[in-house]
């Protein structure tokens, strides 16, 4: 076997091995957060104010974790319950772009400063993206 290839396998294995305890911890934490916070509870938190709703939507999306499909289903249900599109948009955008649950892992691997700044920016952007999307849709 090519020596460089062997080295790349060893290097990759070491990286994966280091990640394992963090990975197991993150998955356990995601499971617990999903079990503790009932999905029906979120609908009660929204108001009718465009800015406040987008902040609440982005905030909820930030602390929630899991497959984006779950956020689409939840978002679709929120819309049916009369929650504003701007709040739902901020919610589904923040769901994948902000990762509060994954923050410890991101900090540990990519650096604390990078992880905090990136997640804070993503949260702000979830609000901007939501308001801009709904504004443009209003013009079409």
């Amino acid at each position: 076997m090519d020596q460089n290839f062997k080295q790349s396998i060893i290097k990759s294995w070491r990286a994966i091995y280091k990640l394992l305890p963090i990975l197991v911890g993150i998955i356990l934490l995601i499971g617990l957060v999903n079990a503790i916070i009932p999905k029906t509870y979120y609908a009660k938190l929204f108001s009718k104010n465009i800015f406040l709703d987008s902040i609440i939507g982005g905030g909820l999306g930030s602390i929630m974790a899991g497959n984006p499909v779950t956020s689409y289903i939840l978002g679709g249900e929120f819309l049916k319950q009369g929650i504003s599109l701007v709040a739902v948009t901020a919610f589904i955008v923040a769901w994948v772009t902000v990762g509060m649950v994954q923050l410890p892992a991101e900090s540990l691997i990519l650096g604390k400063r990078f992880a905090i700044i990136r997640n804070l920016l993503s949260f702000v952007f979830s609000i901007i993206v939501a308001i801009t999307t709904v504004f443009i849709l209003g013009l079409i």
Binding site: N4, F5, G25, I26, P68, T97, P104, F114
Partner: protein, 166 residues
Amino acid sequence: MKKSEQSYTGYYFLIAVVIFYLIVFFISPGKISESLNFTTNIFKQIIPIFILVFGLMIVINYFVTTQRISKYIGEEAGIKKWIIAVVGGMVSTGPIYMWYPILKELRNKGVKNGFIATFLYNRAIKPPLIPMIIYYFGIQFTVVLTIIMIISSIIQGLIIERGVKI
């Protein structure tokens, strides 16, 4: 952070999560079985992805050199770098945290933080899931949101690369 500290932090984190589980177990035992079922399903889903990520890491370590990276996504590559970050983020699969070691590996090879931020942001756009968003929110919403998110990802990358010292 020292090497020894770094290698133990992951275990401290895991122990903290287990303690959290024990606390919840005493308060509400039913939540534990619910969360363990959820966790088991995630594990089942990510094991094949984990193998794929491991394979990709080997490929990256084998083929990706500092020179190649700087050619494609270094400062000289201009707009190409952002296109790679956007498309790369979109087509990447698996949970976000599975990509952290790969991105760290890329950063060690000279990739800037702005590129990493843009890549991570674009993971929100998943082409296989587009029919699902259309189903819930309509085609107009999906198109507008996707375009705005791509633009936002590049703005975020530029802010992190040029405006924020990390």
